[in-house]
Symmetry: C2
Subunit: 109 residues, 2 copies
DNA sequence: TACGATGTACGACGAAAATCGTACATAAAC
DNA sequence: GTTTATGTACGATTTTCGTCGTACATCGTA
C-alpha cells in the first residue's frame, strides 16, 4: 500500500554545483526546457526521443536528487514538475537565465 | 619564439551545457568566484589552497575550453580573466545568477 | 649559457557517470 | 486473480572525470 516514495532534498540542502551538474547534460536540459513549457509533465511524455525508459529514469533521478524537479505519483504515472519557487528562493535568476536559452541550444550537441 | 597559444572557443560556439558543466565543480566554481572579485588573476594566485599545479592547470583548461575564462600569457605567468561580455551576450544573466551565490556555497561540498 | 620560476603535457590510477537490458513493483482494468 | 501499462531497481559495461607525480617547455635574469 506504500504509494511510492521519492526523495526530494530540502531547499536548504540545495547546492549550486549539484544543480549546475544536473543541468550540464543535454538530455536533462531538454527535459527541463520541456517542463518549463508544459508546467507539469508525465514521465512517459518526456520519452519522445530515442531514450530508453531506464535511461530516462536515471536522468530524472539525477534532476530530482539535485532538487531541480519534483516527482509526484499519479495513478500509474509519474508527474514531473520544476521546483521553481525553491530554486528561485535559493538562487534567484538562475533558472530564468538557463531556461531562456535552454531550448534553443539543447538540440545542438 | 612561439608565445604560447591557448585555444579559446568562439562566442558562437559556446554551449550552455558545456558552460554549466565547467561550473559544476566546486574547485572551478571557487576559481570563477575569485575571478569575479579580482577581475584578472595570475594562475599561480589561484593556487592558494591545497591544489597541486597540474590539477589547477586541468581545471583552468576546462574553464577556458568551455569559454568561461580567457588565458593571457604575461611574461612567465598566465593571467586568467572571465569572458564576461561573451557569456553575457550569449546567455544573459547566467553569470550574474551563478556568481551572486557562487562564493558562499562553493566551500561547502 | 645556465639557473630558477611558472605552467603545461602526458600518463596512470581510482572514482564516478552514462547507457541500457532485464527483472521487479505498482496501479488500473478486465 | 490476471493482464496490461507505466516506471523503478539492479547489475554490467564503457566512458569520462578528478587527482597528481613527473618530465618538459617557456620566460626572465644572472
Amino acid at each position: 500500500m506504500s504509494p511510492r516514495k521519492f526523495f526530494h532534498p530540502d531547499v536548504a540542502d540545495l547546492t549550486l554545483h549539484r544543480i549546475l551538474f544536473a543541468l550540464s547534460d543535454p538530455t536533462r536540459l531538454t527535459v527541463v526546457s520541456e517542463l518549463m513549457r508544459t508546467g507539469e509533465c508525465a514521465s512517459g511524455d518526456l520519452l519522445a526521443e530515442s531514450v530508453p525508459r531506464s535511461t530516462m529514469t536515471h536522468h530524472l533521478k539525477i534532476l530530482r536528487e539535485a532538487g531541480v524537479t519534483r516527482t509526484r505519483p499519479e495513478g500509474m504515472r509519474c508527474l514531473i514538475s520544476l521546483r521553481r519557487e525553491d530554486i528561485d528562493a535559493r538562487f534567484p535568476g538562475l533558472l530564468d537565465a538557463i531556461l531562456t536559452h535552454g531550448g534553443a541550444e539543447s538540440s545542438a550537441p
